[in-house]
């Protein structure tokens, strides 16, 4: 009985924070860590893949667009509340001047890099809620929410 209460508490309210230098070799670690954290909600493989892909897009954007491949730090905060995982990916990079333009499918600010311009479109399609806040010269914060487990009675 004690155990069950403990598990319920963990499932209702848990969090994870990560901070790491903006280097591409950390992208894999970041998306795997977030997916592992979200796995406690017992999601389907498809839900987990979607979350992992969305996180990968946001972290990659922080590194190549936020910091334009120069040194910096990426911070991730994940929280679980009532079957929903919220992931915030933040950088202190150059920011986005025009978020509407950045959201356009196939738009890329760095065509020389062979990017497809589909990163934000993929995020929008793979999570339930996506909010992008950015202050030019200060940084960008991407907040995503995705329901991973059905709403249970009593929550």
């Amino acid at each position: 009985m004690m155990n069950r209460e403990l598990q319920t508490k963990v499932a209702v309210d848990n969090y994870l924070r990560l901070q790491f230098p903006a280097q591409s070799e950390n992208e894999s670690l970041a998306r795997v860590a977030v997916a592992s954290f979200a796995a406690q909600l017992d999601p389907t493989m498809e839900q987990l893949t979607e979350l992992k892909t969305a996180v990968s897009e946001a972290v990659t954007n922080a590194i190549i667009h936020g910091y334009v491949d120069s040194p910096g730090e990426v911070r991730i905060e994940c929280a679980i509340h009532q079957g929903v995982v919220e992931v915030v990916i933040e950088d202190d990079g150059v920011g986005i001047e025009d978020i509407e333009q950045a959201r356009q499918p196939l738009y890329t600010s760095r065509p020389e890099l062979e990017r497809s311009g589909m990163g934000i479109t993929i995020m929008e399609n793979f999570v339930d809620e996506l909010v992008i806040e950015s202050i030019p010269e200060h940084g960008t914060k991407v907040r995503m929410r995705k329901r991973m487990a059905p709403v249970l009675d009593g929550q």
Binding site: T60, S116, N125
Partner: protein, 112 residues
């Protein structure tokens, strides 16, 4: 990644993760092989891929540009569900053929 040449067509078999960090090396190796062999046809197989994001689309579109500039042809094959979904979102299927097997992809590229 495995690089092979089948009767004048470069066949790339990709495995593992295809994110931003991974695609750079892959791109350089494919470009080097096309340059070295002088072949104009390219087949990319995604059978052993564990993870993909939009970086894979960039990799594919970049190779499509190279091959097209050389007046060659290109086809994709053995695409898993995750990658198929990215193809749908990006409209990539409108410009590149996707087949079930390497043999079918090779046939399409050779017919060109």
């Amino acid at each position: 990644m495995q690089l092979q040449v089948h009767d004048g067509v470069v066949v790339v078999k990709l495995g593992g993760e295809l994110g931003h960090h991974e695609v750079e090396t892959i791109r350089n190796e494919i470009e080097a092989e096309l340059e070295r062999t002088g072949h104009r046809g390219l087949v990319m197989s995604f059978r052993d891929i564990d993870f993909v994001d939009s970086s894979a689309l960039g990799l594919i579109l970049g190779r499509y540009r190279t091959v097209t500039e050389r007046h060659g042809r290109m086809a994709l094959c053995e695409v898993n569900e995750s990658l198929a979904r990215l193809f749908e979102l990006s409209g990539l299927r409108r410009i590149l053929p996707v087949t079930a097997t390497v043999d079918e992809a090779l046939q399409l590229v050779r017919e060109g």
